[in-house]
């Protein structure tokens, strides 16, 4: 069903998703004393300094030692605690990957890993600090789900979901303030993509901080060309909402996936593999960071360079349709 026009007003700017994460956890930790934050000299970046001051008994600091961070979180989870291990996404999903694979996922210790300043949030700090691999490596590990919330609302819901889950979860967050994408219809469901706008001419499937530029591009396409696009925030990368993918493919419209991740093994390939196997043959383009030495610069500069932007996605959408 087409539900018509995209809101014409600009969206209201909110907080950085990692701030919302910290605030939500602070609220939950007041009543749930099993909630523990585990940090690796990362509480400042994780906006968790107030948490540590308020609940000094609910924070475990391991120093700059991310393997130990995740191993300790696994042990805490095994002992019945609810640990949230918080560290930059680049380190927690690379340095500690074996701990995630064996000690958390395989051993089924329901720790939550929170990757902060994900993707290219760290901009000019360069490739050591970028996480363009985390979807890919975690998609290849059984028994862990991956959530990359787009806005403050999704972030809060993801944190609540993870706090209640008895399974391993990875939450991937950015540090840029995000607008609230949809104020009327607040239905977050783990494992279900969230439609931000609806239209049957074109489909954008995005995640995390890339949903916003996809939304802006969709608005531009409608304003300038009357093209009506569906924009989906595919916040849960794993398990993927394949029912939604099937229904989107039925439109017969081109599909553009957008992610702050290398195109190898990310959201786009996850969607493509499902669609191919189901026999859908929509025009399909993956937008993300290509397999090359990543251009240097701020997050915005990197996004613009690779077309993960309002302009880039607008042009691509236009090109595919007109």
């Amino acid at each position: 069903m087409e539900t018509g026009k995209i809101k014409s007003k600009d969206l209201k700017m909110g907080l950085a998703n990692q701030v919302v994460f910290a605030n939500t956890l602070e609220e939950l930790a007041e009543t749930n004393k099993d909630i523990l934050v585990v940090t690796s000299d990362s509480r400042g970046s994780g906006k968790l300094v107030p948490f540590g001051q308020k609940y000094p008994d609910q924070i475990v600091e391991v120093g700059i030692a991310e393997q130990n961070l995740v191993g300790v979180a696994a042990g805490l989870a095994s002992a019945g605690k609810k640990p949230f291990a918080v560290s930059p996404a680049c380190f927690i999903t690379a340095r500690s990957l074996e701990q995630i694979k064996n000690d958390v996922a395989y051993s089924d210790n329901p720790a939550v890993m929170v990757g902060i300043s994900a993707g290219v949030s760290y901009g000019a700090l360069g490739t050591t600090h970028h996480s363009l691999h985390d979807f890919a490596v975690l998609r290849a590990i059984n028994n862990i789900s991956i959530i990359a919330p787009a806005d403050n609302y999704e972030t809060e819901q993801a944190v609540r979901y993870a706090a209640d889950s008895n399974k391993p979860v990875y939450i991937r967050l950015g540090k840029k303030p995000m607008p609230s994408l949809k104020e009327d219809d607040l239905n977050f469901e783990f494992g279900k993509g969230r439609k931000i706008t609806e239209g049957k001419d074109l489909v954008f499937i995005a995640s995390g901080e890339t949903v916003y530029p996809a939304w802006l591009a969709a608005k531009e396409l409608e304003d300038r060309h009357g093209i009506k696009a569906t924009v989906v925030s595919m916040h849960t990368i794993k398990p993927l909402d394949t029912d939604l993918l099937d229904s989107l493919a039925e439109y017969g419209a081109p599909i553009i996936t957008v992610e702050e991740h290398m195109v190898n093994g990310g959201l786009g390939e996850a969607c493509a593999s499902h669609l191919m196997q189901k026999g859908h043959r929509n025009a399909f383009v993956m937008v993300g960071i290509p397999d090359e030495y990543t251009v240097t610069g701020s997050q915005v500069e990197i996004f613009n360079y690779y077309g993960i932007s309002k302009e880039g996605l607008y042009s691509l959408g236009k090109e595919m349709l007109l």
Partner: protein, 274 residues
């Protein structure tokens, strides 16, 4: 270069660290000011490196494991002629190779560091290779104290002693602070000397801001033949700028215009006293 000129150079390098961090509005100020004397001594008194033909196989290696203090490395390399200082005006800009961590795209840089706890293992590999090839060049790495809890360092400590790598030097920038606070509050290292000695390293402690003492420690060959050398350089984070010294807020703080002026005038005064 005289000792006095070397001392003046330290002040000059500090000024440049602040200049380019201020220009880029980004950088790891505290840790750069803490290790710049070590870099000054390495590049101007110790390392056998040729700015014009950097990749010579027999060069000494310097691997900066605490890659975030890249500004100290950049200004030292520029001063030593590895690239024009004006290149640093592009620090952290779009499509510049002068980014917030060391990369081999910049002449003079050995390894792409920035994720802590990698440099020493690479150093062990370089040192084993030098031994296998019968070469006499030396391998230096710079570690942060906050960085030491990374388990990989301790794996490298074991292997360096096991292979009797007396061509390998690890320098600890022991400023006793990291991002969250003091090492003691975050993850205690005590006693780092005892730990390293028990891991089979020869250990020497020096004042990491005393250029002559640093040169003494770094330039005389291995501390003990047959053992890797561990130099504990006692330093002060933010050294040289009164309001930055020992204040963790300056780990990656960028000075305001006013703070920048104040820092520069303090360094000017320090220079006059040399």
């Amino acid at each position: 270069m005289t000792d006095k000129e070397l001392q003046l150079k330290s002040v000059h390098l500090r000024k440049n660290i602040l200049k380019y961090i201020y220009m880029a509005k980004a950088g790891h100020t505290g840790g750069s000011l803490s290790c710049v004397d070590i870099l000054n001594v390495l590049y101007n008194r110790v390392l056998n490196v040729d700015p014009h033909e950097f990749r010579k196989p027999d060069r000494d290696r310097y691997i900066q494991s605490k890659g975030h203090s890249v500004e100290a490395l950049f200004v030292t390399l520029a001063d030593r002629g590895f690239f024009p200082e004006a290149d640093l005006e592009t620090l952290c800009q779009h499509e510049s190779h002068y980014i917030g961590h060391p990369t081999k795209k910049v002449n003079g840089i050995e390894q792409n560091t920035g994720a802590l706890g990698h440099g020493l293992s690479i150093g062990v590999g370089e040192a084993i290779a030098a031994k296998l090839d019968g070469k006499t060049h030396r391998i230096y790495t710079l570690l942060g104290d906050g960085e030491l809890p990374e388990g990989s360092n301790w794996e490298a400590f074991l292997s360096a002693a096991h292979y009797k790598l007396d061509n390998l030097y690890a320098i600890l920038d022991y400023n006793k602070q990291q991002i969250t606070g003091n090492n003691e509050e975050v993850m205690s290292l005590d006693s780092v000397r005892d730990k390293l000695e028990s891991f089979g390293w020869a250990v020497k402690e020096v004042d990491g801001h005393n250029l002559i003492a640093l040169e003494e420690a770094l330039n005389k060959g291995p501390l003990v033949a047959g053992k890797p050398s561990f130099i504990i350089a006692h330093t002060v984070k933010g050294k040289g700028v009164s309001y930055m010294e020992g204040n963790i807020k300056w780990h990656h703080g960028v000075p305001t215009a006013e703070q920048y002026q104040l820092a520069m005038s303090e360094l000017q005064e320090a220079e006059a006293l040399i």
